[in-house]
Structure formats: structure tokens, C-alpha cells
């Protein structure tokens, strides 16, 4: 079967690409669109390192087919900062040392941003349960939770 021609919008930019029917959105992002910020940690939707939003909904891009991105708006970690201005979440992660190796960080930032858009004033428990789908092996989550709560407070103004 020949490849399919897909038209999509990624981080505000219109894109077109070809992909195999069985390719995942994660593979398309990384291997076809050169957006390697989203990571493959497991390929089975268990670790959250591939988290992106699709039409405003948080998804594991390894569980979405590339063809499903047709006519959709995709937002990845690469679209989180505004030019040279970091998103408050990104800045707070740096301030709180909420990353060590950083491999889970893109997925966690995308997930945390989705949370705060839905619930600008989450409790610690709500943050922990929302992020339960994002595995981190380095930090023990402590500083990550602090960073998210602090960013939420700043964003509330």
C-alpha cells in the first residue's frame, strides 16, 4: 500500500506529510517533521514521554496514528515557548530543579499545561493524579509537583 498524504497543523504551522498507514503520530513528528522533542519511552502508552495535545486533548502520540492527524491541530513541546519567552511552567521547572535527565520533561510540561488550561487552581493531589500517566525515574516527582503548583499560582496572577 502506498503512503498517504496528510495535511495537518502543528504548533500553529500548516504542514503536509506522507506516511505509512501504520505509522504513529509520534513517528511522524520525530522522523518526518523533525520534531524530536516528543520522546518514545515505551511505544505502548504507558510512560507519557510522547504526550502532545490533539485538538486541545492530551494524548499519547504513540497511540495515535499519523493519518489521524489529518485536519487536526497538534501541539507539541516545541510550541510551548513563545519565541524567546519561556512558558511559566518551563521557567518554574528550571527554578525548582524539576528535571534531572530531562527525558520525561517535554511530556510532563505538555501534560501540565493541559491541566492548567482545564483547572487553573489544582490541589497537590489533583496535580499528582493528572500527571500519573507521566513516568519520571530521576526526580521522585517532588520538585516537579512544586514547580507545577508554583507555575499555577503565577499564572493565576
Amino acid at each position: 500500500m502506498s503512503q498517504l498524504h496528510i495535511k495537518s497543523n502543528v504548533n500553529g504551522d500548516d504542514v503536509e506529510f506522507l506516511c505509512e498507514p501504520e505509522e504513529t503520530l509520534l513517528e511522524v513528528l520525530r522522523d518526518r517533521l523533525n520534531l524530536t522533542g516528543s520522546k518514545e519511552g515505551c511505544g505502548t502508552g504507558d510512560c507519557g514521554a510522547c504526550s502532545v495535545t490533539m485538538n486541545g486533548k492530551l494524548v499519547c502520540s504513540c497511540l495515535v496514528l499519523g493519518v489521524e492527524a489529518d485536519n487536526s491541530k497538534i501541539n507539541t513541546i516545541e510550541g510551548m515557548a513563545d519565541g524567546d519567552k519561556l512558558h511559566p511552567l518551563q521557567q518554574k521547572f528550571l527554578d525548582h530543579a524539576a528535571l534531572q535527565c530531562g527525558i520525561c520533561t517535554p511530556g510532563i510540561l505538555v501534560a501540565a499545561k493541559a491541566l492548567l488550561e482545564k483547572n487553573p487552581s489544582p490541589s497537590e493531589t489533583e496535580v499528582r493524579y493528572w500527571l500519573a500517566g507521566n513516568l519520571c525515574r530521576c526526580t521522585g516527582y517532588d520538585k516537579i509537583i512544586r514547580a507545577v503548583m508554583d507555575a499555577a499560582e503565577e499564572m493565576r496572577g
Binding site: G43, T44, C47, T76, L86, C101, C104, N134, R137, G140
Partner: protein, 753 residues
């Protein structure tokens, strides 16, 4: 939280001890940072490895012809392709990656393919025909020791292994001192208990990945995620029959290692495929492959016997440790046997360790290799004795704690160590006296680990504008670039922002030992400080030339050269910017470098305190409160020291409560994925409170002790002790997953009812 400082004469630091932003931070929060799988180069191929479905089998034949004919396939290799390179293979690395005549574990590599796409490579694997003759297998450590066990791998038994065991027992160690019999006769209570721990995986979120480009003239470039790219160079060069200088290895950013990425699994395969195909080859492991074919920990079966007087003095301690680390020998049981009783001042102690081969992948370190298992067993028995004798567990640790002058259980006499200070800090912490509720238990454990030095090379360059570039060779797995920059800035007397530290490829520096053994802040820091001092010496020399005075008459202060005394002459200070700006005219660019096999690393102690609540309906355990106490010597960047303490504690929580390798009767790994190999998630945990102590290490200019590994050691027993006290049942088998705990609770209820 600022660290507790035990040394009132401590030097006043300007940059050390602060929390500046890390240099690689923005790249990592924006997705720009390049990890192992993120590099793409022109004309690149994609590789896949065919893996054995059997735990133990002879490989009778491999027919790769159909795979080779598939459109898009550019190279297919088996172990035979390596015959032409060299006969040496360091530490069985090659044979563990690609099977020779036998497959030794479920997932053992058998052949590999490089093709123009991932999809074609996967299709090609299906076309490779392998004929196996299955053999009996063994995966359990105790079963593998029995004389009747299938022999996993012949020819590895060392000369001092006592007779009477299966050939799977490859090494034997014994440590200790004193009269054990006399010691036990003095005890008023003796507890003997057997323990079992299953293998766990470091669980780094980034699967192993590399990109190799090798040409027929014997040159190669290799990009990989690793804890030690100089080690990768040395091992791969030997396997491929290359001169070391012709293999250039660049370490990518690394998505977690924890000891698991100190070994090599895929790089020689990628190099061989690249050579054969004439194109660069990218090889990325799947999560399934990571679990099956990288290096989990050993699994263990242990017996511990400890005697104590009624008032809490330990009179004798004995431990027997049986570790299995897969199909090849390893050096882990001796580390466990040495660490087991290291926290205690004992007159009579004896530990014995046996290493046993099984049909499992070659084990690798997971933070402190061998210590978590052994110390889990010892600290559980100490706690049981405290419970039975109705003694305070912390006071009892203090009563028996190793200190300066203690003859350690592994041989040397301790100098200044931080164990008593950490125990005192725990005792005085509000956590220790906080009330606990129904179905909750409080547990504590000491922890210990060695620290290493090792080969280290650092070059420090002074740019024309007075800023500094530090070039070092140790992959940053914990934020070390920040601490290294801090140490350079502190030593030279300039702002942190004026220093940039990078990790260079293997061509740019001499050999650097792997990032392991909690050695980087200690050893690379030491070398950085010495390199800085060498640059300072050169800058003073230039100032002396400019002022036309003797070199000895100049000294360095706060980032400037100044006359050493009133007799030197009246000169205004020359700043580093000024001296650097004139460096071409005064002789050339200024640099300092230091190459050393760093020795003098101390040992590291920690204490963990945890409150656990057990749900008696489900057997599920919840961590209510967790505090980590650890001696860091000197915390260069406290946030990253805290990060190590918290990260290690949470890994230990996972190990204690859920994580285990599950092998079926068929010898196959049943749970090679994050769904069924359950690591802690954010909703499982509370905040982890870190308390840093600072008992300076005299072997480092700023007092640094390594902290990266110790924090995985105490959680196992601390949590086990907490659950044991919450349920009044002694657990001796990890992990304490809900089904196991529930069964024990129900058994006890039935027994009582």
C-alpha cells in the same frame, strides 16, 4: 532547606552552595536537547535485532538469505561477522549482545539487520530462519545452585569456589573478623531469617540508542546515550579490532542511566552493520528489548543471623548472600557482602557471598550494586530484634553505629564518617516523634555505599573576554555541569554565569572513567579545581611579566592578580578580563588542565525514615511520609544533591512495593513493559523531604562526598520495617506487592481466628 553544617571552620564560599540554573536547562524544557535517538544523519539506515524466543538453546543454524534479498535491506549480521575483528571480547560484552553458539536468555540477540526504513528492517527480521535446539533452563538463584541444575555457561568457575556446588556457582567471597561463635554465645536474643529479592530494572525512560558510522579504513564515529563514552570507545575498539584513536564517541544527552547504561548492548552491532552496509546505522531499542536484553539487577536469596543483648548491643552478625546476575559472571556479590554490615561497629562479623549463573541477561548496576539487597536483609533483622526486645530502633542504631576508629566489616578502619551525625539528625527531626495512626507503621534503615575516584581529565580555557570554558568527559546524569561550573567559578573568583561546561567527545580529552560510583562531583570537581589553579598560575605569571616582577610576587584574589605583598610593588589589580584580553600579546591563549587517577573518595552513609499505611482489605501500601538524611560532605548545588536523594528514595520505594522481574516456567520474561513492571507514579507518593548533612571529605578541596548511589539502599528495609510494624507481620520477600501483603494478612487472621 539549607544543609546542616558540622564543620564550624568551613570555608566561606561565594558560589558553592547556591542554586544557579543549570546550563542544559533551557534545551531540556523546550525539547531541543538531543538524546540518543534524536540524531539523524544523511543516508542513514535503521537497524533491528532478532532476538531469541528461548531461555536456553543451541543455535544450530541461521539462514539470512531471504532477509538479505529483501528490497531496502543493506546488511545482515550474526556473531560470525565479528570473527574477523579480534579474538578478545572484554567482559563478555559482545557475547551478551549477540549469541555465539548458544542463546542464553529470553531476548538474547541472534542476528541484526540494517535497512532503509524501520518498517523494512522489522520485515526483514521475520525472514531470518533460525534453527534452535532448546535446552533445559534455570532462572531461579537457589535452583541454579543445585548440583542437578542445567549448566548455563561452562568455564567460568574461579579457583577458590568451594566444591560441592553446581558449575553455575562461579565465585565465592568471605569477609569479616572476630569470633562468631563467641559473639553469638554472648547474645541474649538471636534472630535468624531468610530473605529473597527479585531482579529489578533501572527503568530509565530513554531506551538505549546509538548511531554508528564506520568506514573500511578503520575509522568510526559513534553517537550513543551512555554513562561512559570513553569506556564505550575502549570496548568497541577492542571488539572491532580498531585503534582507540580511530573511534570517536560522542555522548548524547542521556535520559537516565542509574548504572544500567554503564554496560554496552548495541553499539558493536551498529558499528558492524555500518561497516558492512557502507552507511551510517541508527539502532534504537524498544522498551520490550530494554527489559529483556539490557542489565537488570541481580536477584538474591539471603540468610541473616544477628545476636543482640537485652539492652541493644549487637554481639555478632552473619550473612549468607546468594546472587544471580544472568548468564555471565559479575562482581556484585562481593560488593553486597562487603556492604551488608558496614553501618555497624562489630566485634564479630562474617559475610559470605556466592555468584550463580542463570538463564537471564547479564546484570548491571542499579545505583549501588549489591548493597540494597544485603542491607535490606540486615536492617530488617536489626529492626526485628528491636521490636522483639522492645528497644527504640534509632537508639539501637546509634548504640552500634560505625564511627571513626571502627574496624569495618569489610576490612579497613573508618576515618571520619557521617553515620552518627545522620542518625542524630533523624532522631532530632520532627518526623521521628510525629504521631502515627491506625494501620500505619514507621520504619527506618541505615544505608551505605562506597565512592570512587578514577581516571579524570579536565581542560579549562580562558577566553579573550575573561570567560571560561570547561571541557570534561563525564556524561551528565544528575546536573553535574552546573556543579562543575560552580567549582570553576568559585576557584577562579568569577560569576557562575561566566563559565560554560561541556562534555566533550573522546577525541578532546584523555580517558575518563564512567560516570558511576558517585564519582563525578568528587573526581571531576577535583580535576576542575586543579585545572583552574593551573590556569590561575599562568595568569599570575602573565601579570608578573606585565609588571616586570617575580612570578612568586603575584597572587590571585577574587578573580584578579594582585601583588603578593607590599614589597612586590604598587600595582592595581589586573582582572581576569584584562589578563585574558592581553593573552595573545603575552605568550598565547591561557589554559589549565589536569589529568589524574583520582583517589581519596570517602564513603557515604544515609538514613531513611518512612511512615507507611497498609490497607488491610487490599494489601496495598501507601507512603504517608518520607524523610531522607544523607551526608554529602559539601553540597555544591543543594538542589541536585536533593534530587539524588529524592530520586534514589523513590526508586527504592518502587523496588520495595511493586517492581520485580517475573519469569514464567518457560524461562521467558512475563512483564517486559511499564504496564506490568510498575514503577512509582506521581499519585503514589508524598513529597520526599531531604535533609543534607555536611561532614567534609578531607580528600576533596571543598569536602565533597559522592551522593548519587546511597539513597537507593535504605528504602527497602525502611519500608519493609514500616509495613512489618503496621501489620505485625515480618516480611522477608520483595516486593511487598498487594497480593503478597494481603495473603500474609489473611494467613495471620486465619491463624489467630
Amino acid at each position: 532547606m539549607s544543609p546542616l553544617n558540622n564543620n564550624s571552620q568551613a570555608r566561606q564560599f561565594k558560589v558553592i552552595g547556591t542554586r544557579p540554573p543549570r546550563p542544559d536547562g533551557i534545551e531540556k524544557v523546550t525539547g531541543k536537547a538531543q538524546y540518543g535517538a534524536d540524531l539523524n544523519v544523511a543516508n542513514m539506515l535503521f537497524a533491528k535485532i532478532l532476538r531469541s524466543p528461548h531461555a536456553h538453546a543451541k543455535v544450530l543454524s541461521i539462514d539470512t538469505s531471504a532477509a538479505e534479498r529483501l528490497d531496502g535491506v543493506k546488511a545482515v549480521i550474526t556473531s560470525k561477522d565479528f570473527d574477523r575483528f579480534s579474538s578478545g571480547q572484554p567482559n563478555n560484552i559482545l557475547e551478551n549482545s549477540i549469541a555465539h553458539q548458544k542463546v542464553l536468555y529470553d531476548g538474547h540477540g541472534v542476528a541484526a539487520v540494517a535497512a532503509t526504513s524501520d518498517l523494512i528492517a522489522k520485515s526483514a527480521l521475520k525472514l531470518i530462519k533460525v534453527k534452535y535446539e532448546t535446552l533445559p533452563h534455570v532462572t531461579d538463584v537457589d535452583k541454579a545452585m543445585e548440583k542437578s541444575a542445567p549448566i548455563v555457561n561452562k568455564g567460568y568457575v574461579l579457583e577458590n569456589v568451594p566444591k560441592g556446588h553446581s558449575e553455575n556457582v562461579t565465585s565465592y567471597f568471605e569477609f569479616g573478623h572476630g569470633d562468631l561463635e563467641a559473639g553469638f554465645s554472648k547474645a541474649e536474643k538471636i534472630v535468624t531469617r531468610s530473605f529473597k529479592t527479585e531482579a529489578t530494572h533501572q527503568g530509565y525512560i530513554e531506551p538505549n540508542a546509538c548511531l554508528a558510522s564506520m568506514t573500511p579504513d578503520g575509522k568510526a564515529d559513534l553517537w550513543c546515550c551512555t554513562q561512559g563514552h570513553y569506556n564505550v570507545r575502549a570496548v568497541c575498539a577492542e571488539i572491532m579490532g580498531m585503534e582507540t584513536s580511530q573511534l570517536k564517541v560522542t555522548a548524547s544527552e542521556i535520559g537516565g542511566g542509574f548504572g544500567g547504561k554503564t554496560l554496552i548492548y548495541i553499539e558493536p552491532i551498529a558499528l558492524a552493520l555500518s561497516l558492512k552496509s557502507g552507511q551510517p546505522v541508527k539502532l534504537v531499542m524498544t522498551r520490550d528489548e530494554v527489559f529483556k536484553a539490557t542489565g537488570p539487577t541481580v536477584s538474591s536469596s539471603m540468610d541473616v543471623k544477628i545476636g543482640m543483648t537485652k539492652d541493644g548491643k549487637i554481639t555478632a552478625g552473619e550473612a549468607k548472600l546468594r546472587y544471580q546476575g544472568g548468564a555471565f559472571p559479575n562482581g556484585t556479590v562481593e560488593m553486597g557482602a562487603q556492604s551488608a554490615f558496614a553501618s555497624y561497629d562489630l566485634k564479630a562479623v562474617k559475610t559470605q557471598g556466592w555468584n550463580i549463573l542463570t538463564n537471564r541477561p547479564m546484570q548491571a548496576a542499579y545505583r549501588a550494586p549489591g548493597a540494597p539487597q544485603a542491607i535490606y536483609a540486615v536492617e530488617s533483622v536489626v529492626d526485628e530484634l528491636c521490636e522483639v526486645l522492645n528497644l527504640d530502633p534509632l537508639e539501637t542504631r546509634l548504640k552500634n553505629a560505625a564511627k571513626k576508629g571502627t574496624l569495618s566489616s569489610y576490612g579497613p578502619t573508618f576515618d571520619d564518617i557521617g553515620l552518627i551525625a545522620t542518625l542524630e539528625a533523624a532522631k532530632n527531626h520532627p518526623h521521628y516523634s510525629a504521631p502515627i495512626s491506625k494501620n500505619q507503621g514507621r520504619g527506618l534503615s541505615c544505608g551505605f555505599w562506597f565512592n570512587f575516584g578514577g581516571d579524570t581529565c579536565v581542560t579549562l580555557n580562558v577566553n579573550f573576554d575573561g570567560t571560561i570554558g570547561v571541557t570534561e568527559g563525564n556524561p551528565d546524569i544528575g546536573g553535574s555541569r552546573a556543579s562543575i561550573s560552580q567549582m570553576a567559578a568559585e576557584e577562579i573568583g568569577i560569576a557562575y554565569e561566566k563559565v560554560r561546561t561541556i562534555i566533550a567527545d573522546t577525541n578532546s580529552l584523555g580517558h575518563n572513567e564512567i560516570t558511576d560510583g558517585s564519582r563525578v562531583t568528587f573526581a571531576v570537581g577535583l580535576a576542575t579545581i586543579k585545572a583552574a589553579r593551573a590556569a590561575i598560575k599562568e595568569m599570575c605569571k602573565r601579570a608578573a611579566m606585565i609588571w616586570n616582577i617575580d612570578e612568586e610576587a603575584v597572587r590571585w584574589e577574587n578573580g584578579s592578580a594582585i601583588p603578593a605583598g607590599p614589597n612586590a610593588g604598587k600595582f592595581d589589580p589586573l582582572t581576569i578580563e584584562e589578563i585574558a584580553g592581553m593573552s595573545s600579546q603575552t605568550g598565547g591563549p591561557i589554559a589549565g588542565h589536569h589529568e589524574v587517577n583520582a583517589e581519596g573518595a570517602g564513603v557515604s552513609f544515609g538514613v531513611h525514615l518512612v511512615d507507611v499505611e497498609v490497607d488491610k482489605e487490599t494489601g496495598s501500601s501507601k507512603i504517608i511520609r518520607y524523610t531522607v538524611f544523607q551526608d554529602a560532605g559539601k553540597a555544591i548545588h543543594p538542589s541536585y544533591v536533593e534530587g539524588q536523594m529524592q530520586g534514589g528514595a523513590v526508586q527504592g520505594i518502587g523496588w520495595a512495593l511493586n517492581e520485580e522481574y517475573i519469569y514464567g516456567d518457560d524461562g521467558k520474561l512475563q512483564n517486559p513493559g511499564f504496564l506490568d513492571y510498575r514503577i512509582p507514579v506521581a499519585s503514589d507518593l508524598p513529597m520526599i523531604d531531604p535533609v543534607i548533612l555536611e561532614i567534609p571529605n578531607p580528600g576533596h578541596p571543598y569536602g565533597v562526598r559522592g551522593v548519587g548511589e546511597t539513597s537507593i539502599v535504605p528504602p527497602l528495609a525502611a519500608i519493609s520495617n514500616a509495613i512489618s510494624r503496621a501489620t505485625s507481620i515480618r516480611f522477608s520477600d520483595l516486593p511487598m506487592s498487594p497480593p503478597k501483603v494481603l495473603k500474609a494478612i489473611k494467613d495471620k487472621q486465619r491463624g489467630n481466628g
